[in-house]
Symmetry: C2
Subunit: 121 residues, 2 copies
């Protein structure tokens, strides 16, 4: 009995595919939504809002194919959540991007406060 697939030792998600998947801002946005908790396709789509449902669905598929999220079906719903293990060293990258976003927001808020105070003085 010929082994067609030698050495099928559950390789980690190809980093390549993962990179391509999260190179898209939209997919990063979606990934963030399913980062902490499982969410249904509908929840995700209505959260994103500046894009149609099918667009979200398509992006979910790319994420799923790249192994970055998992899908669980329950009745007519499908629930997605991030599979952090699959991200490998990319998890750090994402985290850094996101906390950096937060920093920028906080900065903006501070600047706002400053200039408001300045105007008042």
């Amino acid at each position: 009995m010929p082994r067609t697939q030698v050495r099928t030792r559950k390789r980690p998600v190809p980093l390549e595919a993962a990179m391509e998947a999260i190179a898209s801002p939209r997919r990063r946005q979606i990934l963030r939504l399913v980062w902490g908790a499982e969410r249904s396709a509908g929840e995700i789509a209505s959260t994103v809002r500046d894009v149609s449902w099918p667009a979200v669905s398509q992006n979910l598929r790319v994420l799923k194919d790249s192994g970055l999220i998992t899908e669980r079906r329950e009745g007519t719903h499908r629930y997605y959540k991030a599979d952090r293990r699959a991200l490998g060293p990319l998890e750090v990258v994402l985290r850094q991007m996101w906390t950096r976003d937060l920093d920028r927001l906080r900065e903006l808020a501070e600047d706002e406060a400053h200039s408001r105070r300045a105007r008042r003085d």
Copy 2:
């Protein structure tokens, strides 16, 4: 004297731009070439070989714009080299991709050896 640019504290290269830059296999290939040592555009282009010089030049520009490589001009030559600091957490990702490539090559070589031996037996 109005400070137009508040808070210009030499921010690290936007991770976003870096991500996009290295999402391209061709650019990863080029980046690898200028990883350890500075190389001229010509050296790089003639190493890559399955693509035209202008194509290489264009990719070098993207890498440069994203801050991942630096350019040094000397006479009619331009020398490029990777700026590893700029990669931030993406350095780990690249290293992992590359060592994984090597692993795959080694595996192939081993398999070759095995089947060669098998045929002989």
